[in-house]
Subunit: 114 residues, 2 copies
Amino acid sequence: MVTNQSKISPEFIQNAARILKTLGHPQRIKIVEYLEDGEKTVGQIHRNLDLIQPIVSQHLKVMLDSGIVSYRQEGTRYFYSLANAFIIKILSCMSDAQEMISKGEWTLEHHENN
Amino acid sequence: MVTNQSKISPEFIQNAARILKTLGHPQRIKIVEYLEDGEKTVGQIHRNLDLIQPIVSQHLKVMLDSGIVSYRQEGTRYFYSLANAFIIKILSCMSDAQEMISKGEWTLEHHENN
DNA sequence: GTTTTATATAGTAATAATACTATATTTCAA
DNA sequence: TTGAAATATAGTATTATTACTATATAAAAC
């Protein structure tokens, strides 16, 4: 019986899992993509992506808690933006994956979930 | 009222969400890391990572359904391996993120969840 | 001061994910 | 043909997530 011995740190695992899990939601991916070209207000996200406002706030809160986004307040407006450039790298990494999938080099069952 | 108009395809969003969500679990990340240097049996994963056997099977099934792993059977043994080289790219992408986090360039609250 | 706008927060029902125990299935060996 | 080994599957309680409605808060406009 070999004892648990992974070369990777528990912190890495926890952080990675957290970030990946948070990004693993269709609407949140949409929001992140939308934020790619700069900060947006909750209302802009809500109207532009056609998502219910409290749901947008809820997703933004989840992403805020995971360090995916940050915000600044200006009067009654909240401008949300991506917390760092890395978020985009993750998604562009996924774009490459999508290319593989499109080419049929990667098959994954596609379960519908919003 | 602008209509929902994202440049990215719904398929991309669904696929990316699916993959990210599936990878967004500490134990599954461990398993993927462990599989990085080649196929392993369920028992090896179970013993080496000190995870309960049915849970390993369960995680493997989830990852199989998302196209993260594949397997070949040999007698009573099931050898699981990463479905493609891309999985690792995603994790190495996360390693870079971890570096940012370590350096304090990326702050994220750290909630404990196994 | 009252209304409106923008957004957050509370509360909650419905659904999904997780961890776990127990058991079934399959294959191989004695 | 019996037993053991390897793994899957069933069943389930617990917990987390999601989507949603209603409401609170706070700033700005009137």
